[in-house]
């Protein structure tokens, strides 16, 4: 643990200080209701392009809920109602003209619980590229599948059994398969809901490496319960509590010098 923390500190130190970057996603006065429960209250947040934003906060505070607003996955929940404005590249994603399917091709997602399709490992990864017509030929598809599995840090473990069912993998392997599946469709924004909660430190390190690499071209939002992880991989951090956005700013700033007492308490482990 000690060494990891120092490593983390190093990583934070090497990340360039957040300068003025382009805003990819802008949220204003977002409210989410599950029936009568007010799950997200008045959240304003600007997510930068080509950067990693971490959502932290105690369990049940609405991190997943807010994340699901960004690719309109909440549409699939009957009782969920979203208000406010969310734009991606200055286009309102809740506009009537927006087809959520098109949006989700642009905004990929890795879910909190690993959910591979009960199909072969190959088909799990190839499914997205297939339905979006990203591969011209079988050879193309093979290349995409291999590349994605490598990015998901799982290629070496599965390369000999691509036809085996994805559901036969261990929990951590399944989650990495889901990451591979999400990156295979080349989204512009990648939402990751606790991608490493079922992973061992080695796989976690690989996924974090991947996140760092993807940051070059994508906007990444990651929900995490690990403060070290937030500190290691993210440039910006948003702290949620009871559906409210408590604090949002540069990761370095939040971890070294939080303005809110609640943030400080949470980070130092005094509540949660």
């Amino acid at each position: 643990m000690k060494t990891m923390l120092t490593e983390a500190d190093n990583t934070v130190a090497t990340v360039p200080a957040a300068g003025p970057r382009d805003t990819k996603i802008k949220a204003r006065k977002v409210q989410v209701y599950y029936g009568d429960t007010h799950a997200i209250k008045d959240v304003d947040v600007d997510l930068e392009d080509k950067a990693v934003t971490a959502f932290i906060g105690p369990s049940g505070c609405g991190k997943s809920t807010f994340l699901r607003c960004l690719n309109r996955m909440n549409d699939t929940i009957d009782v969920a109602r979203v208000e406010g404005e969310i734009t991606i590249d200055d286009e309102d994603i809740y506009d009537k003209k927006v087809d959520p399917v098109q949006l989700r091709a642009k905004v990929g997602m890795v879910f909190q619980k690993p959910n591979p399709f009960p199909k072969s490992i190959y088909d799990n990864v190839a499914y997205g590229p297939r339905i979006h017509g990203l591969a011209k030929s079988k050879a193309d598809l093979d290349v995409i599948v291999e590349k994605s599995l490598r990015r998901g840090a799982i290629w070496d473990e599965v390369k000999d059994r691509l036809t085996a069912p994805g559901t036969g993998l261990s929990g951590g392997q399944q989650q990495r398969l889901c990451i591979a599946r999400a990156v295979a469709t080349e989204p512009e924004v990648l939402l990751m809901d606790e991608p490493c909660s079922a992973l061992d430190p080695i796989a976690t390190a690989k996924v974090e490496e991947l996140i760092d690499e993807l940051r070059e071209s994508y906007t990444i939002v990651i929900v995490t319960h690990s403060m070290q992880q937030a500190a290691r991989v993210s440039q910006r951090t948003a702290m949620f509590h009871l559906g409210e956005l408590v604090e949002f700013g540069d990761t370095k700033e939040i971890f070294t010098n939080p303005t809110e007492k609640r943030t400080q308490d949470y980070i130092t482990g005094r509540f949660g």
């Binding site: 690719n71 996955m73 699939t76 009957d78 399917v101 098109q102 989700r104 091709a105 642009k106 990929g108 997602m109 879910f111 619980k113 959910n115 591979p116 399709f117 009960p118 499914y127 997205g128 339905i131 979006h132 069912p165 559901t167 036969g168 889901c178 599946r181 999400a182 295979a184 469709t185």
Partner: protein, 446 residues
């Protein structure tokens, strides 16, 4: 660590008294006794069920097996060209053939060394007028003239009943159908091997032969009727049922209207089948003008009956697919439709197929609505001329045929009814086995 030290230091009153793991305490004993009792009830219920099942099967098989055998008179017979010409030139042609037959019969008796005196009229009572059968045969197969042909002629239903125990000799009252003394000859012939038991192919391939001729009755035509009905039911209820379920389960908004539809579908499943029968009569025959007694109409009525079953089981299996699979598909940018057809439906397939086959099996065994639309047993007089007319030509179905037979006065029809039930059960068992195989094949391991 600190807690543990604190505990040893504290007085021991907080601790539970020592209890050996090697002896059962009161609570555990009671719990185990309850469990054992529950297991015993379950076992008793299963055994009772098995007992009744065995009784059912034994009675069906013992009553139905005689329908699959029949007593025949087997006779080697040669018709010469001269005899043929002579018979065809006579006025009473079948009478002439009858004469030849009696001659041949005498010869057979002689060859086997049977010495009996009998009257030609007895033969009529034992096997009926065979002249017509023989004439028909030689007219259809003129090349057989001059050759030896083995004729297998079914005995009359009373003689048949006498040999399989349905008719006791002391119950025979002399009539123009049978006299008690005829049975002496029958016994002699049986010992000589001229009357013998044979597999009754007519029962498998034949049609309903009318009230007077139980010997010629067969279930074949109504099997064909059932087959055409099942084609209609499958072709309509599977696509309509699955499409309805997918729409209701995956696409329909949840509001009072869809709730109403849902409640009504569940209610439809509980509507007695005879109601569907009278509906079919009113709508399909009287209003739409479709032909009476047609398997097409029967199929339509049974489709109405099967739809709720298929919809309910399909919806249940769609519901059983974990939502995370839908999320996963939507998450990579699949449309609702793609997520349903690529992921949800294949996973729900075993359930859908099982439900469909159970629905079909129910439809196959349904009698009441068929009686109302005129698919009664005696309508099944033969096979349809072609595949297409199979849907529209008047026919019956297996259960309706069985019902008609069971209602007839002649005791040998009773036996046919049991035999028909065996055939019906064989079909149902086959369908269930197919359901199991399909489920195994489509089932995915998680």
């Amino acid at each position: 660590m600190t807690d543990a030290t604190a505990a040893t230091g504290a007085p021991a009153q907080a601790r539970r008294p020592f209890a050996s793991l090697l002896t059962l305490d009161e609570h555990t004993k009671r719990r185990n006794a309850t469990e054992a009792r529950f297991k015993a009830y379950g076992l008793a219920a299963v055994l009772a069920g098995l007992f009744f099942l065995v009784v059912l099967f034994v009675s069906i098989i013992s009553n139905g097996i005689p329908a699959f055998t029949r007593m025949v008179v087997e006779l080697d017979f040669t018709l010469t060209q001269a005899q043929f010409d002579e018979a065809e030139s006579q006025l009473l042609k079948t009478g002439a053939y009858q004469g030849y037959f009696v001659e041949g019969f005498d010869k057979a008796l002689e060859e086997r060394g049977v010495e009996v005196e009998y009257d030609a009229a007895v033969l009529d009572r034992l096997i009926g007028k065979v002249g017509g059968i023989m004439r028909e045969f030689y007219a259809a197969n003129p090349d057989k003239i001059g050759e030896e042909v083995v004729f297998e002629l079914p005995t009359s239903s009373r003689v048949d009943g006498y040999f399989n125990g349905r008719l006791k000799r002391e119950d025979v009252s002399d009539s123009r159908f049978l006299e008690a003394s005829d049975l002496d000859l029958a016994d002699e012939l049986y010992e000589a091997g001229i009357i013998k038991s044979d597999f009754n192919w007519t029962f498998i391939t034949g049609a309903d032969s009318g009230v007077d001729n139980p010997g010629g009755a067969g279930i074949g035509a109504s099997v064909v009727g059932s087959f055409f009905m099942m084609i209609v039911v499958l072709a309509l209820s599977l696509p309509i049922g699955v499409a309805t379920s997918i729409y209701l389960e995956e696409f329909a908004p949840k509001n009072w209207f869809t709730d109403l539809i849902e409640v009504n579908i569940s209610n439809l499943a509980a509507v007695p089948s005879i109601v569907f029968g009278i509906l079919g009569l009113a709508v399909f025959i009287q209003f739409a003008g479709l032909p009476q007694s047609a398997p097409l109409v029967g199929g339509l009525v049974l489709t109405l009956m099967t739809l709720p079953t298929i919809i309910i089981s399909t919806r249940a299996s769609l519901k059983a697919v974990p939502p995370s699979i839908r999320d996963a598909a939507l998450g990579v940018g699949a449309s609702k439709m793609q997520s349903v057809f690529h992921h949800v439906l294949p996973l729900a397939m075993p359930g859908i197929l099982t439900g469909t086959i159970i629905g079909l099996a129910q439809a196959l065994g349904e009698t009441a609505p068929l009686l109302l639309i005129g698919m009664v047993g005696f309508v099944a007089r033969g096979y349809p001329d072609s595949f297409l007319t199979g849907f529209t030509e008047a026919n019956s179905a297996m259960p309706a045929q069985i019902y008609t037979w069971a209602a007839r006065a002649d005791a040998s029809f009773y036996e046919k009814a049991w035999g028909g039930i065996i055939v019906l059960l064989l079909f149902l068992m086959t369908m269930n086995i197919i359901a199991i195989i399909l489920r195994r094949r489509f089932e995915r391991r998680w």
